[in-house]
Structure formats: structure tokens, C-alpha cells
Symmetry: C2
Subunit: 431 residues, 2 copies
């Protein structure tokens, strides 16, 4: 969509009518996209990446306008940082689109095949989901990442950028569309909602008359909570990542120290960062102090139960609220628990079913933990920060989901597909 189209559309009074039109266009584009070959999709994505590179000056100019307005509104420094593009960041956006082009085509995979005694041959074949609605906030790169992932899986995308990043997102979307169209893909395969009117979000959550099949929110907890509460279509998301590391009685201390530090502190702002450390009472006398002192010395605030506070005066008291808090910061809650069952019980009571790890050399204890902790990702003797589509080998992810349907854990291109059954007969009728 050109910037001119964007302006003309943004003038429309009737946001609902605009959104319905976007929905119809997306559905039509999805029908075409579902039939495009993997090669053509990849050519389109590479052309989109080239067009982003070529449009870098226009993208950076649009971004400067967004930044000027954001500064005038005194938005927080973290928002400004997420919003800001540099030549290096634009290059990274283009490279990410090319990387998605290089992934295997997830559409058409034969997920299952079986013969029936009557000679019917039945296959389960991966097909695109249809139309994916993505609602995001200040990071303009989501335009390209999410759009490219949806398109790689044969879907059409309807992207709603945060109002502070609309100009930047529009410039990126316009470049991508130029590349896609040059390779014969539908101009509406990736549509950016061209208005800041918040009613557009409500329209997307209602499903646009059945024209949106799934919604992916990309942003903070408030956004995800609103989407989960209001969406009338399925949502791929996680509300929180209250991830735990449980250091079991049979944990090697050196391994536990490394895993706990990495799980908490490698990056504190990501959903796979650990928020609570549980230490088995049986090894607390040897393991608790080194684990806590490591964290304190690395600059992490520690909130602990009585046993943990006894380790060091810098440990402040933890209340029940701490067990339920996703700090997303250099803060950790620490609790000594009475063995494996108590650890599992704590995680099932206070966790968010995202990613939880056990450190132990007791295989039986590990197996029980992996079986009984009901989270999308359960980890034995490794960092919780591996909760990531790239680390899983999915190439890229649109997010991590904790729902129980379909997409669960990292949502990569395979998870942006569904399937159909293809039944091959030779005249069979049912008796």
C-alpha cells in the first residue's frame, strides 16, 4: 500500500467499514496465497527484503517523524528505544525477511497418511491458517517479521501497529508490498491498518465478519490481556512468563549456579527469563547460599522466604505476591521447598504454564518433573532462556503461546498452518 493510499484511507470516517473492507481483501488474498508455490513465496519475500533495503531512506525518514512525535509526547525512553530505527536496524529487518524466505515451506507437508481396509487412502496435509491478525506496539520491525512469517505459511496478514510507530510501519509495509507485487503476489497479502483509531483493534478482535482466523498480539501484558479477554477468534499468545528453576536435591551445584544465573540474568526482559528460584530443602544447606550470593553479586535483587533471608541481609522478604510476579527485571523470588512434589505444586499454583526447568542428576525426579509440570515447555538441566523459536530450530517465531490449542510453545511458520484431510478413493461408498 502506498503512503498516498494510506493517507486517503486514514481520512475515512467509518473505521468499521474500512476494517470490513480490509478483512474482505485479506480473505481474497489468503485464497490466492494458499495456492502459491513455495518458490514464488520465497521470491516474493526476497523481493520484499530488497525493497526494504532500497526504501531505507524513506523508512528512516518516516521513523524520524514518529520519533519526533513520540518525544514531544514524552513517551518513556524504553518506548523510544524500541521505536527507533537506524540503518543497521533496517538492514537487520531486511536480513530477517530473507532468513524467513530460506526456511522450508510449511505448507503441503504430509502430517499423516493412512490406508483404510476399504482401499481409501487418507492424508493429513498442512494448509495455511488463512488470515492472521497481528496487533503490536512500538517496534516497527514487527511489521516485517510478522508479515513475512504469516506470508511464508501461505497466509494473508492484517497488521495493526501501535500509533506511535504507524509511519515507520507504513513505510516498511509499503516497501514489502512493492516487492511482493513485483513477484506476482497479491497486494493485499500484507495489509497495514492505516488508521490510529482504536476502534480498529476492536474490529479485528471481533474477527471482521469471519475474515480473521487467528489473532497474535505482540506487546506488553495489558495488550495481551485485552486481546485474550475480548477476541472472538482464537489467540496465539502468552499473558505472562512466570518461569521457574527448581534446584533439586540431586543437582550438581556448579551446573545449578550456571543455569540459574543464565535463566535469570542473560536477558531479564524476555518471557523465558526465570522469575522464581525453588531450592530443595534437602540441598539448601550446600546450594542455597552460593546460588543466592551469585545473584546478589551479579546485581540481582533477591526476595526470599525465611531460609533465603538467612543467607544474606540484602535479601528482602518475599510475599505470596512475589510468587505470582513476572518481574521482567533483575529481581528474583527465592523459596526453599520440601522436595519435588512441593516444587511441582508451587509451579502449578503460581506459574503461568510457559517454561519451567529442573536441575538434577536424578533421572527419575527429572522425568516426574517433565511429566507433571503442565507447561508448554519443560526443561531438564538447561536454561529457561532457550524458550525461543530460534533456539528450537524453528528459524523465527511470531511469539510464544501458552494456550492448549494447536500453537503452543514457540509459534513459528509451521504453527501458522492448519491442515485438511485429503481422501483418495476409487468409487468407494459407505455401506
Amino acid at each position: 500500500m502506498s503512503v498516498l493510499t494510506l493517507k486517503a484511507r486514514a481520512g475515512a470516517d467509518d473505521v468499521d467499514a474500512l476494517m470490513r473492507e480490509i478483512g474482505r481483501q485479506a480473505r481474497a488474498a489468503a485464497r490466492r496465497m494458499a495456492l502459491v508455490s513455495g518458490q514464488q513465496k520465497d521470491r516474493g519475500l526476497r523481493a520484499a527484503a530488497a525493497a526494504i533495503r532500497a526504501a531505507a531512506p524513506a523508512i528512516l525518514e518516516a521513523n524520524r517523524a514518529d520519533l519526533t512525535e513520540a518525544r514531544a509526547k514524552d513517551l518513556p525512553a524504553a518506548t523510544l528505544d524500541r521505536l527507533e530505527l537506524t540503518p543497521a536496524r533496517v538492514e537487520a529487518i531486511a536480513a530477517a525477511v530473507e532468513a524467513i524466505a530460506g526456511l522450508p515451506d510449511p505448507v503441503g507437508r504430509r502430517l499423516a497418511a493412512f490406508e483404510r481396509p476399504n482401499g481409501l487412502s487418507i492424508e493429513r496435509i498442512a494448509t495455511p491458517l488463512g488470515v492472521v491478525g497481528v496487533i503490536f506496539e512500538s517496534r516497527p520491525n514487527v511489521t516485517a517479521d510478522a508479515g513475512a512469517l504469516c506470508l511464508k505459511a501461505g497466509n494473508a496478514a492484517v497488521l495493526r501497529a501501535g500509533s506511535e510507530s504507524l509511519r515507520s510501519a507504513a513505510a516498511i509495509a509499503a516497501a514489502m508490498t512493492e516487492g511482493l507485487v513485483a513477484e506476482g503476489l497479491p497486494a493485499d497479502a500484507i495489509q497495514l491498518v492505516p488508521t490510529r483509531d482504536r476502534a480498529a483493534v476492536g474490529a479485528m478482535l471481533s474477527g471482521l465478519d469471519g475474515c480473521i482466523d487467528v489473532i497474535v498480539p505482540r506487546g506488553g501484558k495489558n495488550l495481551v490481556a485485552r486481546v485474550q479477554n475480548e477476541a472472538k477468534v482464537p489467540v496465539f499468545a502468552h499473558l505472562e512468563g512466570i518461569c521457574h528453576v527448581f534446584v533439586h536435591a540431586a543437582a550438581d551445584l556448579a551446573m545449578a549456579r550456571t543455569i540459574v544465573r543464565n535463566s535469570k540474568l542473560r536477558r531479564t526482559g524476555i518471557c523465558g527469563a526465570a522469575e522464581t528460584l525453588l531450592v530443595d530443602r534437602a540441598c539448601a544447606s550446600t546450594h542455597l547460599a552460593p546460588l543466592v550470593l551469585d545473584l546478589l553479586e551479579a546485581g540481582c535483587a533477591v526476595r526470599g522466604d525465611e531460609a533465603t533471608r538467612a543467607v544474606d541481609p540484602r535479601v528482602t522478604p518475599a510475599s505470596e505476591a512475589d510468587w505470582r510476579t513476572e518481574y521482567l527485571d533483575a529481581v528474583i523470588a527465592v523459596r526453599v521447598v520440601e522436595g519435588l512434589d512441593a516444587a511441582i505444586d508451587h509451579i502449578e499454583t503460581f506459574g503461568s504454564h510457559h517454561t519451567d526447568a529442573i536441575v538434577t542428576h536424578d533421572t527419575g525426579a527429572a522425568e516426574r518433573f517433565l511429566a507433571e509440570v503442565d507447561s508448554a515447555i519443560v526443561v531438564h538441566n538447561a536454561s529457561t532462556q532457550f524458550a525461543d523459536g530460534g533456539e528450537f530450530g524453528f528459524g523465527a517465531e511470531i511469539g510464544i503461546a501458552t494456550g492448549r490449542m494447536h500453537a503452543r510453545g514457540p509459534v513459528g511458520v509451521e504453527q501458522l498452518t492448519t491442515f485438511k484431510y485429503r481422501v483418495h478413493g476409487s468409487g468407494q461408498i459407505r455401506p
Copy 2:
């Protein structure tokens, strides 16, 4: 649950509080069920089947009371037939539960496994969905079928029977629970909602404070529409089965006649019954008349376009409404279309994404139809009436879903599971 408990509970004024309690009990039961071995589940199901047989007199007595009340209310004959149990039907219910016990355990299957370059080994393992809410109408056997399927997949079930079948359903549920408990399974693994108050349905659709993971409606279109519109949790269902048979130019006439008759008339009341016949203009001069006369002679009413009406005066005019109608009766809409593209376009415009078939010996045309028709089940040279979990080899099904998430097509025990990622490390941290 005993009949006494049932009565005591039904007296509760606060349906919401009752339903929340049922939800909490279901969640607790689901946590236990998720860890039960396949053998124990199967022993429980066999004991439940034996208990149903042993309780046949009580079940039949409860059913007589339901029938007496239903007759006094002048319910339609079809409802009375669905409601009525006989000794043979009770035996069939018990046998169906035993058949479900004999299926392979869907929990714990390794759906995928991959090694990462850093040595992490990641598995995707099937796990139970959690708590399944089933809302049904007059068929008491759904109590056993749905309960057993949910339980086989390691779930807890909350069953809401139609008010006309509540006594029958309660007697069956009580027997099943007796069998399950005797084998050490939780008494709340299968709970029947013990009140006729319609507020109970609304409570289930709200998800019972996060205690219901998915809803399966089993009944007519009004029930499914209400559930799809109001449910705040995922729904496995299809609203309609507007299934098509397209007789392509390259169809063998004898095969087409057999498949059309079977697709429409084998059973007219099931969701996989064909509702519309599309005939390619290119073969209409040879194929249309025999196909239409077959149907008329078999007692099927035919509503057709102009070309079809020219075949026989008994053909009445079809309007656009007919293309959108699921007759569930011996009625068919017939239209002559201009080739494969027009057939696909008709199906995408008027269909319900359930099951659609092409009859042709042109492999290329069949491949295009299977690729481009966006339905849960697409069929080449066979009857649409194969749209059934049993016919797919799933053993039994709780229904057929047309959604784009997770369960699509026949929903058997595998589709009543989700998965988790199990990550096995040896101390890996993320760089």
C-alpha cells in the same frame, strides 16, 4: 455421582457457585488423570462398561421417567426416539465404552523430536487437553461416549445433558463413576451437571474460571450456534455440513451415480450427507439426467437450476437459499456449473468447509479440487458419508470440527490431546 448427590446438588440455589465447584473438581481430577497410565485408564473404562451393564435396570427405569415426562410435554417423535433406551441400546453403550478402552493411548505419543547443535534434545509429547466441557441434547448415550473419549485422552469431562434426558444421563454417569472409582480413578473425572437450570450452560461457556479448556457441543444447529457465539473458550464443532459432490467432465457415469446416491441418501440426517450436487456443463448432456432420475426414483426431492428442471417435471426450482441450506433430509439442490473453477467457486461461496467431493478420472482436476477447496475433508472418487471418525480409523469420534485450530475433521481421542515440549540438557545455557 450417586442419584442422592444429584438431588442434593440440584437443590442448590446458586447455580454459579455449583458450577464453579464442579469446575474446581474437574481441574483437580484432570491433574490426576493426566498422570494415570494407559492401562489404568483402560481398566477404569472396562469397569465403567461393566457397571453400565450391571446398572441396566436402573438406567432403563430412569429413562422411562424421562420418556414419560417427554411424552407429557408432547416432544417431537424424533426427540423421543433419540431419548429412548432399550436393553439393546444400553448394551451398545457399554460395548462402545469397551471399544474406546481398546484404542491405543493417545497420551505420551512422541509427535516430534529434534537435536539442536548445542546438544539440547527436544521432544514434542502429546498430553491431555485438560477439562473438556460437553453440552448435548436428548441422546443419553452421549454421556458414555463423550465421557469415555475424554477420559481415554487423560482429560476430565464436565457433561451437560439436555433437560429431557437428565435422569437417563445421571444413571449412566453414576454407573460409570462407580466403575472408574473401583479402579482408583478420580470420582470427578466424569461429572454430569446435576441441574436443568439453563444458567449452567452459560457458566460452562464462560469457562468456569479457567477450569474448562475446550467445549464440545453435540446437537442441533441452534445449540452449536449458541455455543460458538458465546463461548469464551475454544469450541470443537461444526455449525453445518453443507457438503457437495461435484461430478466433473471426466467422471465415470456409473461411479458418479453410485457416489451421488450414497452421499445423499445412505443417511440423510448426518453432517456428512451431501446437500448439493454440482454437475459439469461439459458432461451434463450425458450425466445430468441419470443422476437426477436416480435421486427422484429413490424418493429424493430435487431442487434444480434451469438445466436440471429440464430433466424432469418433478424437479422444483432452486433459489440461492437452496445453495446455503443443510436439508438433513431427502432433498438435494442440483446445479450445472461451467467447469472446475466454477464448482470450486460455488463451494467456497456457499459451503461450510466440512466435506466436499469430486468425481473424476482426471487426476489434475482432482488435485486442483483437493488443493483449492478449503474444507476440513476433501474427497476424490468416494462418498462424502465417509466423513466420520470411525471410517477414518479413529475408533470413535466426539464430533466433526470445521474450525481451523488443532482439532479439524473427525475429533477422536488423538484430537482430544495437546502437547508439551520436553527439553533435555546437560547444563546448557544460552549465549
